[in-house]
């Protein structure tokens, strides 16, 4: 990708972060750290990687994005709004009565949401089912499944990992948001996940580890995943929870709480500074 294109995508990620802070403060509840940490991945998915059409959400030839860690849906809503699925102002209805933007995503509430999710550990199996069906129909679309790292505690994930490898579902790519936190604390203290890369490899997956804030690395990893024809790929994306807002980065307390009005002001100011840095860095 050109430097100009990377700059555009990084600015999109910044827009997504601004919307996340804005909508969570309005909602008064919800998850902040995970969505901020995944903003670069979502900017790349919605604006570079995925084949999709915001004006034709049921397009049969679209790629499917399964969000297994449904609690991080603010990042998806923000990316969808910026991509043109619905007006950006609607983000302010998040978690409110009658809103299409349910606290955890509902397939029937909002066009473009592929599946209802939130209960952890079930997305990878659903993604594998879609990938199996697509291959049977010799359709060339790709299925992306984002999982949290905490949800890798769930046995269902590893049932799905065995299944996808056994059936050689190379049209399925799992993206693990490796941010090292979950509700009760650091993942390695709650329930040890390492050697995570070794686990996926031993289950029969091709594994790529990336810096989840480096869009070029992510795009390259996806291209590599698509080139591998005999097994599914797991991209372990190392991310910083709360990325972009220094005072909350890596703080597990921010897993499940929104910013206050005062914090919002401070955080948005920091994101404006970050925007200036992105523009300056890429114009050199």
């Amino acid at each position: 990708m050109t430097d100009e294109r990377i700059k555009e995508l990084e600015l999109k990620a910044n827009d997504i972060r601004v919307s996340i802070i804005d909508m969570l403060e309005d909602a008064g509840s919800g998850h902040t750290a995970g969505p901020l940490g995944m903003s670069d991945l979502f900017a790349a998915l919605y604006f570079e990687i995925m084949q999709h059409d915001p004006k034709n959400v049921d397009w049969a030839e679209r790629d499917r994005l399964i969000l297994s860690n449904g609690h991080t849906v603010p990042v998806r809503y923000a990316a969808m709004a910026h991509a043109g699925y619905f007006p950006i102002e609607e983000l302010k209805t998040l978690r409110k009565f009658g809103s299409r933007l349910q606290g955890h995503p509902e397939r029937h509430a909002l066009p473009g949401i592929e599946h209802t999710s939130g209960p952890l550990g079930t997305g990878l199996g659903q993604a594998a089912g879609m990938a199996f069906g697509m291959r049977l129909d010799t359709n060339k679309q790709h299925v992306y499944c984002i999982t949290g790292d905490g949800e890798l505690d769930c046995g269902n994930i590893w049932e799905s990992a065995m299944f996808a490898a056994h059936h050689n579902l190379s049209n399925l790519t799992a993206i693990v948001d490796r941010n090292n936190i979950q509700i009760n604390g650091a993942t390695e203290n709650v329930m040890k996940l390492e050697d995570l890369s070794g686990k996926w490899t031993s289950f029969g997956w091709h594994v790529i580890e990336i810096d989840g804030h480096n869009i070029q690395q992510f795009v390259d990893a996806v291209n590599q995943a698509k080139a591998i024809q005999n097994k599914p790929t797991c991209i372990i994306a190392h991310t910083i929870p709360g990325k972009g807002i220094k005072e909350i980065e890596n703080e597990f307390e921010w897993h499940g709480k929104p910013p206050t009005a005062e914090e919002e002001k401070r955080f948005l100011k920091e994101l404006r500074t970050l925007r200036g840095k992105i523009e300056a860095t890429h114009s050199q």
Binding site: E106, H115, Q126, A128, G129
Partner: protein, 328 residues
């Protein structure tokens, strides 16, 4: 007397004259027929192809058969993904494990997600026999009927199971079909109508005192009991309530309004099952004295199917004894 419009077997009370098969066999045939009619039909199985009768489908449509291994949670997640993509998956295991083990996957990825997965719970009830309590699902009607969007069907014989399978293949809804392992008399025929949500009064007495509402193998046993009680001057009518959800409130209410006492009969816990569903309807629309044939808050045990059915009162004799006790 039997209801002639239903075109039941013409020698229906001569049990020896009836062919016998398990409802799982009718399901297995229906699944192949459904797959012949629609290439979107797929079968997923958690390492139980032969005993759920999925192997007939597997032999004929190997490319549409999906092996999931002993992983019932994933069975349901994968089925959800396939249905969401546009397929018509049948996901099968023993009812003790699916929906027994994967209820949350069913709730969120199938029922709330509202995708047309057909959940097939085989080996339900004590008639599983020697495998014992662990494998005798007696709670599945309760756990499935409580879910919004879910259709719940308990076929009364193998032929009805075949028709029910064809019906849920085209209903575009999350559906649960409950099957038994034991061979039981096939008292319906190819011509017997079947429609989801439409119960059938299979045995109609004049001025009945008792109305039995039954599902599964208890329907035929209830008919035998009604025939015998009629000879003793106790008039009994019998309804086959094979669709437990959605409930046909109108037909159940009308049926109850013509009797003094409703007996429900099912191979399931009395708490939360078909009888409870009937009670919910009657309490609102036609309060009627009721009693319940079912498992009374206990698990099953090992034994031959016939021994267990006899022991727990799921036979003609058990039903007659129950009714006489109610009338005493």
């Amino acid at each position: 007397m039997i209801t002639t419009e239903l075109k039941l077997h013409n020698d229906v009370f001569n049990t020896d004259a009836l062919d016998k098969a398990a409802t799982r066999d009718g399901f297995g045939k229906g699944l192949v027929e459904a797959a012949e009619k629609d290439q979107r039909v797929m079968a997923l199985c958690a390492d139980l192809a032969e005993s759920t009768r999925a192997h007939w489908f597997k032999e004929k449509f190997p490319e549409r058969y999906v092996e999931v291994g002993v992983a019932e949670q994933n069975l349901m997640a994968v089925a959800s993904g396939l249905a969401n993509y546009g397929k018509i998956p049948f996901a099968m295991s023993y009812a003790a494990f699916s929906p027994g083990r994967n209820w949350e996957q069913i709730r969120s990825t199938v029922a709330l997600n509202d995708v047309p997965v057909n959940i097939v719970g085989a080996h339900a009830g004590v008639s599983v026999g020697p495998d014992g309590a662990t494998h005798q699902a007696l709670e599945d009607i309760a756990t499935m009927r409580v879910l919004p969007n879910m259709i719940v069907v308990v076929p009364a014989d193998s032929e009805e199971a075949r028709k029910a399978t064809l019906a849920i293949a085209v209903n575009d809804k999350p559906s649960y079909i409950r099957l038994a392992r034991a061979k039981t008399p096939i008292f319906t025929t190819l011509e017997t109508p079947f429609e989801i949500g439409v119960p059938q009064i299979v045995y109609q007495s004049k001025n009945p005192r008792i109305g039995i509402i039954a599902c599964g193998s208890l329907v035929y046993q209830s008919m035998l009991a009604a025939e015998e009680l009629g000879k003793e001057g106790i008039n009994v009518s019998v309804m086959n309530l094979s669709t437990i959800k959605p409930m046909n409130e109108k037909m159940i209410t009308e049926f109850a309004q013509n009797v003094d006492h409703i007996v429900t009969a099912e191979e399931h816990q009395i708490h939360g099952g078909m009888g409870s569903a009937v009670a919910e309807v009657l309490a609102q629309h036609a309060p009627t004295k009721m009693s319940f044939i079912g498992m009374h808050d206990r698990y099953g045990e090992s034994g031959s199917p016939d021994e267990l059915l006899e022991h727990f009162g799921f036979t003609k004799k058990g039903i007659i004894d129950h009714i006489k006790k109610q009338l005493a």
